[in-house]
């Protein structure tokens, strides 16, 4: 498996290289000019030209790319063209907040999807399955921004139970940190919960029809044992794939959720970098997100072996 993992890692290099070209190109296609922001609202033409030269934006685009790629090869993501902060430091700072929100979103997704998925497959045709189908349909139809605003209106403004926005580190104020996490975690995790529920339910139903499940029952195993040891474990394999994709998306920064809840994570960093056309920050962050996504996918693939020993890595 180690060889397999190493081979997969090597395979990611061309992916990252192509991503770097794509990211650099796309970012430069966004209309707008950071030199204008730096030069100020009523800047004179000569001031704008000077700001562009200072930022290196007057060089041909391929030269700018070569300079950036050279920095990346040396492990340097560059500095923000607006505030001079090292991009790597900014990403590290924001990634910790994103990690915190990811944990919350994942917890919500799993705590909701596991019971709903299992129970709706076991109680097929009953009111519980119909209710679950309704929740799943709603969860996939409701836009994240709408749900987030609704939760703030109800739990923050009306009931005044929870703070509406912000983030503090657990090490500083653990109680407040937990309270601040609830609404964004629910907003982030709800959609994933419904996706996972749907996959888990259909996967469970499929596995329950398998011969070995019938054999297990015929041997006289208790239903709980059949479900947990034979059905659930095998049904989880496709669910893990979906979970991996969702996790990758969470770690990439939930732009909408982070904006609604003023959560200082990677999503907001990217949004702000787009708003100010801070090219190094945007390029560095997107490249980091792509790398994270590739790594999560690899870990997901490796997880299959633990769930199903029949899977071998060659």
């Amino acid at each position: 498996m180690v060889v397999y993992a190493l081979r997969r890692l090597v395979q990611t290099l061309p992916v990252l290289f192509l991503s770097s070209i794509l990211v650099f190109g796309l970012v430069r296609f966004i209309p707008g000019d950071p030199a204008m922001l730096i030069a100020g609202p009523d800047a004179l033409p000569e001031q704008i030209v000077a700001a562009r030269a200072r930022l290196g934006l007057d060089k041909p685009i391929y030269v700018q790319y070569a300079i950036w790629l050279g920095q990346i090869m040396r492990g340097d993501l560059g500095v923000s063209i607006l505030n001079g902060y090292p991009v790597f430091d900014l990403i590290t700072l924001k990634f910790l907040a994103t990690l915190q929100l990811t944990a919350g979103g994942l917890l919500v997704a799993l705590c909701v999807s596991l019971p709903l998925g299992i129970l709706s497959s076991v109680r097929r045709g009953g009111w519980f399955e119909r209710l679950t189908s309704l929740v799943v349909a709603l969860g996939q139809a409701i836009p994240t921004f709408w749900l987030g605003i609704l939760l703030v209106l109800v739990f923050s403004l009306q009931l005044k139970w929870l703070p509406p926005s912000g983030q503090v580190a657990f090490s500083q104020k653990p109680g407040l940190a937990l309270r601040l996490m609830i609404l964004p975690s629910l907003t982030l995790g709800f959609y994933s919960a419904t996706v996972l529920t749907r996959f888990l339910k259909s996967s469970m139903l499929e596995v329950m029809e398998m011969d070995y499940v019938r054999t297990a029952r015929a041997k006289g195993l208790a239903e709980t044992g059949v479900l947990t040891r034979h059905v659930l474990k095998n049904a989880l394999i496709p669910v893990v794939t979906i979970l991996g994709l969702q996790l990758g998306a969470f770690l990439g920064g939930a732009v909408v959720t982070e904006s609604i809840f003023d959560w200082p994570g990677l999503g907001r960093l990217m949004l702000q970098a787009i708003g100010t056309r801070d090219y190094p920050v945007l390029q560095g962050t997107v490249l980091f997100v792509v790398t994270t996504f590739v790594c999560v996918t690899l870990i997901t693939d490796l997880t299959y072996g633990f769930l199903d020993p029949r899977i071998r890595y060659q």
Partner: protein, 544 residues
């Protein structure tokens, strides 16, 4: 009982129950003390505490010469100016305690405080002011102040505590320049991207870009007893709704520039909302086509005047600004030397007059599709607005609806800041020519000396993006030169009268309403203050 004996139904229910209990136990944690729970309030300012202020944007850097709206949070916290206007436009001493102009009005000598130290402990001296003036005179480093110091020829230190600033010509707005120009420590010029050394009431403690900007009390501040606060933090919100909600729930103590639409909502929630000076002006800049594009509809003055007759200012103030404004046809307040009552009602909302002008100009609806045309070209006006200020888009939408009734299509295009700049100012690629027909924007500083309006890019005689080839209406540049180079009130009034008539007749600027910056604060926040340009001053603020 072990899990082995739990049915799947029970496992599911238990998991769901645990989740609900966990959420409820946290959700029911004690709420922060409410206003009613606060102990007896003491009279007068209290020292200590932290003020958390919500903003709509993060700062870009600490360059005090960058006068954009995003710079407002740091300007008066880190830095001081030489003088500062009070709300009645009286000159108040700051770093300068006295000032004297020569008889010709071509130089001003300032006496500086001798008890001021920079945040790094070094004494503040006259040479620091000289170096700041020198920095402002260089286009690359002068940022927005550079355009204002065009008549300054230099500055000279007279010892450590006196400085003389010289002008090439009499400069009636010289104190406006001193009012906006904050003084930075010369040793910080190279590190303004992410740090500041000033003489202001607060020192920079921490800046996490996009998250929080925190200042801490300057213990060596020259103004005795100030500041009251231990710390002041600025938190940028990407989402305006989140900013307002944070105020309502007490997450933040105050906010700068809340949207007009939330004014009443905050009052209803018990939040105090104060109006700023109202020095800014919502207006529509009209961009006549370049001389090499004579086919452009706006090259015809009658079409521009038709737009001027189509502005329903009352509806705009009522519906787009939610009553937070004051309609005006001219860009100067009634106390200004450039204000003339007889010009103040030059235009009204009269769509019939607008339609008649368009007919006269030959723009008629020949194909019956509801949009006027001429020589096969439809009368469609590209109208840019500023996304960060949604009311500008609302103004554009009202104009769109009104002008549609007389056969003019208004194509409203909201732009983010980085895209708005190149369209508003033009770029080297467009030869400095702005890229819009109409621009719903706001301009500032004309509420001080009227020449302030002509520092704003569209109307400045030098490098105007709407007249990139210098082809201004006849008499405009000449009269401005007269008004900007004399202290004689009557001469200035005569010149400003002509400039005002030219602007109204040519319809290059359509004033709409005064723009009041809204400062919101919790009931326990006192002394929140701002300059005549609506930049927040936290040095006088205290919290109960």
């Amino acid at each position: 009982m072990t899990c082995r004996h739990l049915s799947p139904l029970r496992i599911g229910l238990l998991a769901a129950l645990l989740l609900v209990l966990a959420a409820a136990s946290v959700a029911c944690a004690p709420a922060p003390p409410t206003e009613e729970m606060a102990s007896d309030m003491e009279e007068g300012p209290q020292t200590g505490g932290t003020l958390v202020v919500g903003t709509t944007d993060d700062i870009i850097n600490f360059d005090a010469f960058s006068l954009g709206f995003v710079s407002y949070p740091m300007q008066n916290q880190c830095y001081d100016s030489l003088i500062l206007y009070d709300k009645r436009l009286n000159i108040m001493p700051r770093l300068a305690t006295a000032w004297e102009t020569n008889a010709e009005g071509t130089s001003v000598t300032l006496t500086l405080r001798d008890d001021v130290v920079w945040h790094n402990g070094r004494a503040f001296v006259a040479d620091d002011v000289v170096q700041n003036i020198d920095r402002a005179l260089v286009p690359d480093t002068g940022s927005n102040v550079h355009g204002m110091v065009q008549t300054v020829t230099g500055a000279t230190a007279n010892g450590d505590h006196s400085v003389t600033i010289d002008f090439a010509a009499p400069t009636p707005n010289m104190f406006d320049i001193l009012n906006v120009m904050r003084i930075m420590a010369p040793e910080s010029f190279d590190s303004l991207a992410n740090s500041c050394i000033g003489t202001g009431p607060f020192k920079l403690k921490e800046w996490i870009p996009g998250d929080v900007l925190t200042f801490t009390r300057n213990e060596d501040y020259w103004e005795e007893g100030r500041p009251y606060l231990d710390e002041v933090s600025f938190k940028p919100f990407d989402d305006l709704e989140a900013l307002v909600t944070a105020l309502e729930t007490g997450i933040i103590d105050a906010a700068i520039a809340i949207p007009p639409k939330d004014y009443q909502r905050l009052l209803d929630a018990g939040i105090a909302v104060d109006f700023g000076q109202g020095g800014l002006l919502y207006s529509i800049t009209v961009n006549p086509p370049d001389p090499d594009q004579p086919e452009g509809a706006l090259s015809d003055k009658r079409v521009r005047q038709a737009v001027c007759w189509s502005i329903d200012r009352d509806a705009i103030v009522d519906q787009a600004l939610f009553g937070v404004g004051g309609a005006t046809v001219v860009p100067f307040p009634d106390y200004s030397v450039a204000y003339f009552e007889e010009l103040a009602d030059h235009y009204s909302f009269d769509l019939d007059a607008a339609a008649a002008l368009l007919d006269e100009a030959g723009w008629v609806d020949t194909d019956g599709d509801g949009v006027r045309d001429k020589d096969g070209v439809k009368l469609v006006l590209n109208t840019i607005t500023i996304q960060a200020f949604p009311e500008t888009t609302d103004i554009g939408t009202i104009l769109e609806a009104d002008m549609a009734t007389i056969g003019v299509e208004i194509d409203v295009e909201p732009l983010d800041s980085a895209t708005y700049g190149p369209r508003h100012l033009g770029t080297p690629e467009t030869n400095g020519s702005a890229v819009f027909d109409l621009d719903v924007t706001f301009v500032g500083r004309q509420h001080l000396d009227p020449m302030g309006l002509f520092d704003n890019s569209p109307f400045r005689p030098r490098s105007s993006p709407i007249f990139p080839h210098g082809d201004f209406p006849e008499g405009y540049v000449e009269q401005l030169a007269i008004a900007g180079s004399t202290f004689d009130r009557e001469t200035r009034r005569a010149a400003f009268r002509q400039v005002g008539e030219i602007m109204l007749d040519s319809c290059i600027d359509i004033p709409i309403s005064w723009k009041y910056t809204l400062f919101a604060r919790q009931a326990n926040v006192h002394g929140l203050d701002w300059t005549v340009n609506d930049e927040l001053i936290a040095g006088n603020t205290w919290v109960e």
